[in-house]
Assembly symmetry: C2
Homo-oligomer: 178 residues x 2
């Protein structure tokens, strides 16, 4: 199942690290696309530079019209919000949604400061990763891992740099240095 | 199993949002303590204010001597690093560690910019949540969820504010308003 993340309400400057963490987390867990509703050159350059070294598997798409992304989607949409149904409760229904929408892109909507009420109505599910305030990065990570991201954790990302996992210390295989 | 997070290398100002996300993620997944190696009044006040409303279940402890925390621990220590053994591979061994150390505090070490080599040696396990660069917040979330944090996602945190999970919209029960 291809996964895309729609990041709402990114604020230039203030949110650059959180949004970068969010995009890289999505990538590490197998997402292939992230929609930003406003360009942020610093974030986009950081992600592009990282992918040149570690493998380009995710595309950042700037789309100011988030309604269009949500309304014209072909697969399911899961909106992450602390006010939603708690993940452990709703997980079987999410898995059924993923099963049903098959090869279509699953859209995971991650809010920023103020999420318009319309988002709650347009999503198939409003899901809380615990009904406590914490972090959209953590919520995305846990949701994706529960929907099959664990396989992505072991995937080959195809970049020139590859870590060789170690019990102690650091080993990086650099294909450009051979 | 009680869980504590040891946050290394927090930089005042620059890391405040990431460290706040890290602490709140630890809390939402059931950790009861977070060690910071330097005070950060802004982070500490944000966490304290949030806990007054949502329930005080986690203690922030400033301990400049991280070696002491690591060396004098009574339970296991898991260091999160992208260079470590990949979580899916090492998970059964981590579960065995948790089983063996029983009621002692499990220490999860989360690095910052530069982690001293000594940390890799002192930890029981160096664990990568995928061998790709992403986010320490995401890595902590997935590790804790895999070690039993899913129960915490459904726990009552005892604060005056409680979300009543909804399929659509937001409902917050405020005990101070009754």
């Amino acid at each position: 199942m291809p996964v895309a993340v729609l990041r709402l309400g990114h604020r230039l400057g203030r949110d650059k690290r959180t949004t970068t963490h969010l995009i890289l987390t999505a990538r590490a867990l197998g997402a292939h696309r992230c929609y930003l509703t406003a360009p942020d050159p610093e974030v986009q350059q950081t992600v592009a530079a990282l992918q040149r070294r570690w493998g380009t598997t995710l595309e950042v798409v700037v789309q100011r019209n988030w309604r269009k992304v949500l309304k014209e989607r072909r697969g399911g949409a899961i909106h992450l919000t602390m006010y939603g149904e708690n993940l452990p409760t709703v997980l079987p229904a999410l898995q059924a949604l993923v099963e049903r929408t098959g090869k279509e892109e699953l859209l995971v909507v991650v809010g920023g400061a103020k999420v318009p009420g319309e988002v709650y109505a347009l999503a198939d599910f409003n899901v809380a990763v615990g009904n406590q305030p914490h972090s959209e990065v953590a919520a995305l990570a846990i949701l994706l891992e529960n929907l099959g991201g664990r396989e992505a954790l072991q995937a080959d990302f195809g970049g020139p740099l590859r870590i060789v996992p170690q019990a102690r210390g650091k080993v990086v295989d650099d294909a450009t240095a051979r």
